[in-house]
Symmetry: C2
C-alpha cells in the first residue's frame, strides 16, 4: 500500500531562490560543514556534513551482525568484535554529498537544497573490506557486490532499505573501508554506528551507513538508490549515467566576520590571508588552486594533504582595499580538470563543482 | 562604517511556508537534533541542536584566558588548566533555542526557521561559576554580571561580540556551570571550545559560548543580544520582556519509517509504543504527558529524568489502525503550566511551545 504522504516522483522546484516547507525542513534536518572549520585538516567531530535519507537507527553494538550472503561460496557473518579484531586502518577521507550545490541550480530539483557546505574530512578507522570479500569467495558469475543498511523508508512512494553496489572491478580499485570509528572515537549513531563503509574518492552516497548486509550478485543491483536517484541526467527522459567519483572542487574559509542573517562578510582593510581546502575524486592530486578577486585570478599556495583521499590545504595573500569585493577559488587536479565558473547542468543538481563565490565588504 | 550586506532591521517573512535563500541558508547552517535521538536520555555527540550567530572560532586551549574584570574588587584571570583544576561537576542539561518553532508562526519573523528540533541534552562537565564570582568579589554597587564570547559579527548593521548578562539575584538561583567538556570528551569547537557557560533551565541564548570575559557591571548590561534580540514582543513598538526560563514542552520520536522528502511517517498496523521527552525550565518537574491520537488525549507514562535540569522520558501505547492519523503530545509541569495547541504569539517567534503534530499513515 502506498503512503499517501510520500513525495511523488521528483519534480522541479517552482522558483529560483524560493523554498517551501519541505525543502526548508530538509535543510534544517541535514547539516553542512561549518565553512570556518575548513581551516582544519580534520573536520571536528559533529561538524561534518550529514545527509540522512531516512531515520538514524540506534543500533546495539553487542548484537549487531554483518552478513556476507548471496552468491558467495563461503558466506559468513561477523560480530562487531570480529570486525574490530581485524587489522586496523585509519585513513583521512574527504566525503562530499553528490547533491552539494543543488540550491543554485536553475531549475532546481526538489530535494535537499545544499549551498556548498556538504563536504567534510574525518579520520575514519576500520579494516579493509577487500580481504573479507576474498574470504567469502564470490562465485564465478558474480558481477557486483551490494551493501545494505538497516535504514528503511520511502522515496517517491517506494519503500526500500538504503543500499548501493559496486562492481568487482570497482572494488579492486577502491580502498573500501569497513568503518567502526571516526576521529579517534566510536562511530557516532548519525554517522552510521556501529558499522558503515567508506568509499574513498566517491561521492557520499556510496558510503553506506548502518551496514548489515553485503551480498554477492550475479546480476547488476537494482536498488532504488542505485537506479533511480544517484544518476546524472540531462532531462526526465534520460536514463542517466551513474554518479561515482568526486569532481574537482575547492572552498575557502570566508574571511573576516559575518552578518548573522545574510552571512555576507565584513573585512578590515589591509593584508589578509585567505585559506581553504581543495579536493578531487579517486585519489587525484590537486595541482593548482587559484584565488579570484573581482574576477582577477591569482595563484594560491598549496599546503599539502594528509592522505591520498583527503583534501589539500591552500593559502593566498590578499591586500583588502576598501569597498565591496567578490572572492572566489578554483582548483585544478592532476588530470587537468578545472572547476567551472557556472554550475554544470544536471537535472537533479548532482556534481555541481562550480567555483564558490563569497561577497565581502572592506570597511575603511 | 556600516556593512551594506548586513541584514536590515528585522522584518517579517513575506509568506507562510515560503522561505528565501537567506532563511534556507540559515536552516542549512544551523542544525537541529535528529528527532529519533529523543529515544535516548543523552543526545549523541554532534546531534545536539546548534545555533551559531556568527562564526565558530577555533581557539587554542593552551593560551585561552578567562578574565574577571570590571567592578570586581579582586579581578583575576584564569587559564584552562586553572579552570580544570577546580572541583568538577557533570550535569545533564536540556537546552532549547528560544526561537525553536519559529517556522510555524504567522507572520513569521525573518530569522532561523526552526521546526521543533532545536533542543538537546548533553552531559556538561565543568565547575560551578558562583564560587569564582564570590572570589572576584563584586563591588557593592554591582547589579549584573556579563558574559562575553570571542565571536564577533553583525546583526541589523551593528557589530558586536556575542554577550549576555545575569543579575546577581539570578546568579544566586541558577546553577551556572563553566563548561569545558561534554558527553565525556573535551568541548567541541562548535559547542564553544575551550570554554562556555551553561545556564540550566534557561533558553540557550544565555549559555554563552567561547567565553573570554566575565564583567561586573554597576548598570544593566546593554549588549545587543540582551536588549535588541532575545525579548518577547507583541509588536514592533513593544520594548519587550526578557526571555529567560524554558517553557514546558514535549516531543515524540516519530513512529514508523519516514518519507525522504515530506518526512511523513508510515506505520505498520498493530501495537506501537510511542516515546519521547518532555521538559520545562528552571528545574520544574514534568507531572504529566498526554498522547493525542486524532484529537483524543490519553495519559502517557513518565519514565524519569537524569537530573533536575534534564528532560523527562515518556511512553504511550497505541493501537495503530489502518488509515491516516494525527499524533500529538502535550506536557504539563509542576506549576500546572501546559502546552498550548496553537503557538503563543510573539513577534519574533520566541518561546513557541505549542504541541508537536506528527502525521502518520497506517498501511494494511
Amino acid at each position: 500500500m502506498t503512503n499517501p504522504f510520500s513525495n511523488p516522483a521528483p519534480k522541479p522546484a517552482t522558483q529560483d531562490g524560493v523554498f517551501d516547507d519541505s525543502e526548508r525542513s530538509l535543510a534544517n534536518r541535514n547539516s553542512g560543514t561549518l565553512l570556518e572549520t575548513l581551516a582544519l585538516d580534520v573536520t571536528p567531530t559533529g561538524a561534518h556534513y550529514l545527509l540522512t535519507h531516512f531515520d538514524t537507527p540506534l543500533l546495539d553494538d553487542s548484537t549487531h551482525r554483518l552478513t556476507f550472503q548471496g552468491a558467495f561460496t563461503h558466506p559468513f557473518e561477523m560480530s562487531m568484535d570480529d570486525i574490530r579484531a581485524r587489522p586496523q586502518v585509519t585513513l583521512p577521507v574527504t566525503l562530499e554529498c553528490a547533491g552539494n550545490g543543488r540550491a543554485s541550480l536553475s531549475p532546481r530539483r526538489y530535494s535537499m537544497p545544499w549551498n556548498c557546505e556538504a563536504v567534510g574530512t574525518y579520520e575514519w578507522t576500520g579494516t579493509l573490506l577487500a580481504p573479507l570479500i576474498a574470504q567469502a569467495k564470490p562465485a564465478k558469475d558474480v558481477v557486483e557486490i551490494s551493501f545494505t543498511g538497516v535504514d528503511y523508508g520511502y522515496d517517491s512512494g517506494i519503500g526500500h532499505f538504503f543500499g548501493r553496489s559496486l562492481t568487482l572491478a570497482q572494488l579492486e580499485e577502491l580502498e573500501v573501508l569497513l568503518v567502526y570509528a571516526m576521529n579517534g572515537q566510536p562511530l557516532l549513531p548519525q554517522h552510521g554506528a556501529p558499522l558503515r563503509i567508506v568509499v574513498p574518492g566517491w561521492y557520499g552516497m556510496a558510503s553506506v551507513k548502518w551496514l548489515s548486509s553485503i551480498e554477492a550478485l550475479t546480476e547488476p543491483f537494482r536498488g532504488y538508490q542505485q537506479v533511480n536517484t544517484y544518476r546524472y541526467k540531462d532531462n526526465d527522459q534520460d536514463e542517466g549515467r551513474p554518479i561515482t567519483e568526486i569532481r574537482v572542487k575547492s572552498l575557502m574559509v570566508p574571511p573576516g566576520v559575518p552578518d548573522w542573517i545574510s552571512r555576507a562578510r565584513f573585512v578590515e582593510p589591509g593584508p589578509v590571508t585567505i585559506g581553504g581546502r581543495a579536493w578531487s575524486g579517486a585519489g587525484r592530486a590537486i595541482t593548482r588552486v587559484e584565488f579570484g578577486v573581482d574576477g582577477i585570478w591569482h595563484e594560491a599556495d598549496l599546503t599539502g594533504r594528509s592522505s591520498r583521499y583527503a583534501w589539500t590545504g591552500w593559502r593566498a595573500d590578499w591586500q583588502a582595499e576598501p569597498g565591496t569585493h567578490v572572492l572566489q577559488c578554483r582548483a585544478t587536479d592532476e588530470t587537468g580538470a578545472v572547476q567551472p565558473l557556472d554550475p554544470p547542468w544536471d537535472l537533479s543538481g548532482f556534481g555541481n563543482n562550480a567555483v564558490q563565490t563569497v561577497r565581502v565588504f572592506v570597511g575603511d
